[in-house]
């Protein structure tokens, strides 16, 4: 018990037993990983990216290995908000961890309707996805220009009765301006970064590897850039920031916390080591001991 008290964090008055959140898209709705280990070891779980209506996702290749990372082009395959509420959320809520519903969209009306449906559920946090690079008609379209993001976040804010976290794209024109715009529009917390828009070419077929031409780069390769963006944002907003980008070790978690994060999310790390969620809390405790840190919040934002 002593140990768990050294990792607990709070975002918008929601208590997390530790700062580790399974990131949207890597973890489904948690059922599959729960066959490997009890998923209540996570501080929180962010749902697969939802859209108002279900989506089949992108055709063609959806994942490749890249140097120290991966590229993906899933394209928001998901069962839709209503199916999530009916079939997935009741199970998720039994798992004794904070539940974030990640919501994407291709137009303001879809976002708002999705939010209204999720308002009536017991999700803990709404994570607004304005950063998916793999959907042509939406997602990241709202996450490039700060004024466009301000507009969509304002509309969602009016409709949303849940704590509102906005997930930012590293592809934003200016990440600081983007973060400030979202805060001004009523975001209560931010998570960043989503994947970097990237490209790979199959030189033998003389074609892009991905049907969509571009895809999202994640994993260890992006960690230093993600950390820099998170650091810049933490110094320019007052709302809590959740760090994402290539985190696979306890050391990585401490780096992001020192840069100012209230918590972190882990996506690609789950693929590299399927047990990462179960192992990291204990590894974090050991690292706190080694670094002579009493509570993880003691080093938050010291850089």
């Amino acid at each position: 018990m002593m140990n768990s008290n050294r990792l607990n964090v709070s975002i918008n008055n929601i208590d997390f037993k530790n700062p580790l959140i399974a990131a949207s898209g890597s973890f489904g709705f948690g059922r599959e990983y729960n066959e490997l280990y009890p998923i209540d070891c996570w501080g929180g779980i962010s749902s697969k990216g939802l859209t108002l209506n279900g989506r089949e996702g992108n055709p063609g290749m959806r994942i490749i290995e890249t140097p120290s990372g991966i590229m993906n082009s899933v394209g928001l395959q998901n069962p839709g908000v209503k199916n999530f509420i009916a079939n997935e959320l009741p199970w998720m809520k039994q798992q004794n961890t904070v539940i974030l519903a990640n919501l994407g969209g291709s137009c303001p009306e879809d976002y708002v309707t999705g939010v209204e449906l999720l308002n009536e559920t017991d999700i803990d946090i709404l994570e607004l996805n304005i950063s998916c690079p793999n959907v042509k008609s939406g997602g990241m379209a709202f996450g490039i220009k700060a004024n466009v993001a301000h507009d969509i976040v304002s509309q969602v804010r009016k409709a949303c009765k849940k704590p509102l976290m906005v997930k930012l794209s590293p592809n934003a024109e200016n990440i600081i301006e983007m973060a400030k715009a979202c805060q001004d529009a009523g975001a209560e917390s931010l998570s960043l970064v989503n994947t970097f828009k990237a490209m790979s070419i199959d030189i033998r077929r003389r074609k892009p590897v991905f049907e969509n031409v571009y895809a999202g780069l994640s994993g260890k390769a992006i960690k230093p850039i993600a950390l820099r963006m998170v650091h810049e944002v933490c110094h320019n907003v007052t709302i809590p920031v959740v760090g994402i980008g290539g985190i696979t070790t306890a050391e990585d978690v401490i780096e992001f916390m020192m840069a100012g994060c209230a918590a972190v999310q882990i996506a690609t790390g789950n693929f590299s080591d399927p047990m990462i969620g179960q192992q990291l809390p204990q590894q974090l405790i050991q690292l706190l001991d080694e670094l002579k840190i009493n509570h993880i919040n003691d080093i938050k934002g010291i850089i």
Binding site: G57, G69, Q77, T268
Partner: protein, 246 residues
């Protein structure tokens, strides 16, 4: 399904860029047509590699793989007693208990390995089993099928041995109560077409790049008449009549 650390027993070049790796067997049931996610590196690669089960007994588990990229290149360097992490057994496997009578198994290239244990199982269940093995040029891993099936048919595109041409030329699906297949998409599509015409049940093992391997990340989705299905969790074996090819 468990994530376990195992030891390499043997890792041999079978032919050209095709290898077999024998490892200590993790506990738990393994069904013919299932696969494991393999990892034999630390930070050097980000993804585990899905490889189908070739053979197993009480002590050992063997995979056959072709070197096609960095992951399989890495696997090929492993020596006796090296450590390897296995996540599995994963996926559904071939529905051996659901078919009866005269069964055809059709494999192409590195789609052949998962058919070995499948043939063994089907034969042990009292079925008549014919195995069709299609190769590009040189033959591999066909002799051992003699002990686990009734007839073996072989083709190679180069014509070194067996029938010169495609294995689908030899297959008459109307003679069978069911067909199981694993191999290149173009081969499996052709078999599905034949089976539709002869009204023969057909199951296909789909090969896809994978992320998590357990059904969470949706990078291995296959389009089916029943909606998008995960090759790693709902498959890799699908009823051929349900698959939609784009």
């Amino acid at each position: 399904m468990e994530y376990t650390l195992q030891k390499v027993i043997t890792n041999k070049r079978l032919l050209g860029d095709i290898f077999t790796i024998e490892v200590s067997r993790p506990a738990g049931e393994i069904r013919p047509g299932q696969f494991f996610m393999l990892k034999a590196w630390n930070d050097e690669l980000s993804l585990m590699r899905p490889i189908s089960v070739y053979r197993f007994d009480e002590q050992t588990l063997t995979f056959m793989y072709r070197i096609i990229g960095k992951g399989t290149q890495w696997l090929s360097q492993l020596k006796r007693n090296d450590k390897i992490k296995l996540l599995g057994a994963l996926g559904n496997g071939f529905p051996c208990e659901e078919v009866h009578g005269h069964i055809a198994l059709v494999g192409g290239g590195v789609g052949i390995p998962p058919l070995y244990e499948t043939a063994k199982k089907l034969t042990s269940l009292g079925n008549r089993v014919d195995v069709y093995l299609g190769y590009k040029d040189a033959l591999f891993a066909f002799e051992e099928f003699e002990d686990v099936c009734d007839n073996i048919f072989i083709s190679s595109e180069a014509g070194f041995e067996g029938y010169k041409g495609f294995i689908t030329d030899l297959l008459h699906t109307e003679n069978y109560d069911a067909v199981f297949t694993c191999g290149p998409l173009i081969m499996m599509k052709k078999i599905i077409d034949q089976c539709r015409q002869s009204n023969t049940p057909v199951w296909c093992s789909m090969e896809k790049h994978m992320g998590c391997g357990i059904g969470a990340c949706l990078v291995c989705s296959c389009k089916t008449t029943l909606g998008m299905k995960r090759a790693c969790k709902d498959g890799p074996v699908f009823n051929g009549n349900d698959l939609i090819f784009e």
